[in-house]
């Protein structure tokens, strides 16, 4: 359907920091390379610097002195956003309320003084791509949130931008619509092969969309890597806690076994001196007490339909979270045996 010659853009940040006029440090000097055609998700809680980084790349904010933004190796730090040719999609949609859907989509081409028939053809193409043809002549206030974000995407892509920058594009939508549009955006980005940077605080979105995820915290890049790596080998406690659910149990690694108050877990590769083992809920199975590594008592059990989420108290720390199949009931206070897959064990 799309016949654009795709020439994806490689983006690099070099020592890009941001200090605001009032002295607050929004971003510590940061180096980052984004490969051509890659989708990188900036993930983190609000105020972590992810939007600031995006705005520096877009050209909406200047980095502090010494910071440089490179597009395909060319320094664009001094270029304002209107010369960078990047598409932007905002959480608030930011559509022009005084224009129709078609006028919104064609705006970038009108600014570029494209010929009328060329604009009309491109607008039709974008309407088709986002499957919103019937909305062409609607006013913006007649659209639902999901429709508005589709128009915003079409508007950003109509000018064939060098990269697509999305700032929490799905946050304002309700859960069901969010899932549907996420799928659509994922499919769109892959089909276009465009370099995309996606800012979100939602880890499920980040996992689903990112070729790489950059987890940010307090103006610093905590970790950057493919979703699997971020999930399986978190580099810091912050990443471990922010992404998914993480269980912790304290003990001592001794001769290939991690010994805790609630039992011992075989762990051959335990780094020397480890005093805390981390593992994900899905790496724990409920077993007979005879085969169990750990024993604990159930403090809560939530039936989720396809599975049951158990909270099991094994020591004085926070209860362990265990995902188990939903075929049996668990009583409050019941003692259960837990077996941990050694491949899922991590130390920090």
């Amino acid at each position: 359907m799309m016949t654009d010659p795709v020439q994806p853009l490689a983006i690099a940040l070099s020592r890009c920091g941001k200090t605001f006029a009032d002295g607050t440090r929004a971003l510590e000097p940061l180096d980052l390379e984004i490969k051509a055609g890659e989708t990188v998700v900036f993930l983190g809680p609000s105020g972590c610097g992810k939007t600031t980084t995006l705005r520096i790349i877009a050209g909406l904010e200047d980095p502090d002195a010494g910071g440089r933004v490179l597009f395909d190796g060319v320094d664009v730090t001094a270029q304002p956003i209107e010369q960078r040719n990047v598409g932007m999609v905002f959480q608030s949609y930011a559509l022009f309320p005084n224009m129709t859907v078609a006028e919104n989509i064609g705006y970038g081409l009108r600014v570029r003084r494209a010929k009328k028939p060329a604009i009309a053809a491109r607008v039709d193409e974008m309407l088709g791509m986002m499957r919103i043809e019937p909305l062409a002549d609607r006013r913006i206030d007649q659209l639902s949130g999901g429709q508005r974000q589709r128009v915003a995407l079409a508007r950003a892509l109509a000018v064939r931008p060098r990269a697509l920058l999305l700032d929490e594009p799905l946050t304002a939508l309700d859960a069901k619509l969010r899932d549907a549009l996420r799928l659509e955006i994922d499919e769109l980005l892959r089909r276009l092969g465009i370099t995309a940077i996606y800012v979100t605080h939602d880890q499920a979105e980040a996992m689903a969309l990112g070729d790489r995820i950059a987890v940010m915290d307090h103006g610093k890049m905590a970790q950057i890597g493919p979703p699997r790596e971020i999930y399986r080998r978190p580099a810091t406690r912050f990443v471990a806690d922010f992404i998914g659910t993480m269980n912790r149990i304290s003990g001592v690694a001794r001769g290939g076994v991690f010994v805790t108050d609630a039992g011992a877990v075989p762990w051959l590769e335990a780094p020397p001196g480890t005093t805390e083992a981390l593992f994900r809920p899905e790496d724990v199975t409920v077993v007979d007490e005879g085969q169990a590594h750990l024993k604990g008592s159930v403090v809560a059990a939530f039936f989720l339909g396809d599975r049951t989420r158990l909270f099991v108290k094994v020591d004085a720390n926070k209860p362990l979270v265990v995902e188990t199949d939903a075929r049996r009931d668990y009583a409050h206070g019941e003692t259960v045996g837990l077996r941990i897959d050694p491949r899922g064990l991590m130390a920090l």
């Binding site: 956003i81 209107e82 010369q83 598409g87 930011a94 022009f96 705006y107």
Partner: protein
């Protein structure tokens, strides 16, 4: 159903009586007095046929239109600027801009004379620089200056309130699509401020059409309709003509505002 409408009618009655007593009846009376002179209702035609009246109507309209446009340009630029750029003294400047709100037209006229009258500041400076005195207080130019001064405080707060509600993301979206600063102004900021411009502009226009104090202070010879009405009423004792002119002044102002609103209405509605 009919009981319901009877109830609604009863509830509306006090407002209706009030409207009738204090709006429709005086207006009808004014209209009737306008036709009570020796030419009868032909007095109304005199506004168009009498060159003097007609030119005063035209110059009043031109003055009000010029005042409105100039005021909106000044308030629009400074209102958006003051809203967007917070600097030390910003709040003080905004409150100073609204300081003249309470001044009556007489005081404004007095200030215009002090600035550009025979002993005025502009005249003195021009005298010093060029050897020639510039005096324009006692003319349409002086009146225009006074009206703009009078109108800016009345419009700037409305513009600032509207500017605060503009979503900066829309401007950023336009820029990301390649729009220059000027295109952003014309495609995003001005359409966004349009409702405020219409509201503020209507008040500004109507005030300039009917203002009297400033004109009266500057010179009795200034040919604007409120002055003509005053002259007819007090000096010529021509009650009928004064009433007819008053009615026309009100009607013309109302008509211009209605046309402006309708012309802007479709786009305002589209802006949601």
């Amino acid at each position: 159903m009919s009981r319901e409408s009877a109830r609604l009618f009863a509830l509306l009655l006090p407002a209706g009586v009030f409207f009738l007593a204090f709006f429709l009846l005086p207006l009808a009376r004014l209209f009737a007095i306008g036709g009570s002179g020796k030419e009868g209702f032909a007095a109304y035609a005199a506004i168009v046929s009498d060159a003097n009246y007609f030119s005063s109507l035209m110059s009043t309209l031109a003055l009000a239109a010029m005042t409105t446009i100039t005021t909106l340009v000044i308030s629009g630029i400074s209102g958006v600027f003051l809203q967007r750029h917070k600097f030390p003294g910003n709040a003080l400047l905004v409150s100073m801009l609204t300081f003249p709100l309470a001044f009556p037209g007489v005081v404004i006229g007095f200030m215009v004379i002090m600035l550009s009258g025979r002993q005025g500041l502009i005249g003195d400076i021009a005298m010093y620089l060029t050897g020639e005195k510039i005096v324009f207080a006692y003319s349409m130019a002086g009146l225009f200056m006074g009206y703009v001064y009078f109108s800016v405080p009345r419009t700037i707060l409305t513009i600032m309130a509207a500017a605060e509600k503009l979503d900066p993301r829309i401007e950023e979206a336009a820029r990301s699509l390649g729009a220059s600063t000027w295109r952003v102004v014309f495609d995003v900021i001005l359409p966004g401020l349009k409702p405020a411009f219409i509201a503020a502009g209507a008040i500004c226009f109507a005030t300039a059409m009917g203002a009297f104090g400033t004109a009266f202070t500057l010179a009795t010879r200034i040919n604007v309709l409120p002055m003509v009405i005053y002259t007819e009423f007090t000096l010529q004792a021509n009650m009928a003509m004064a009433a007819a002119l008053s009615f026309v002044l009100g009607a013309v102002t109302w008509l211009v505002l209605a046309i402006a609103r309708t012309a802007a209405g479709s786009t305002v509605a589209a802006a949601g």
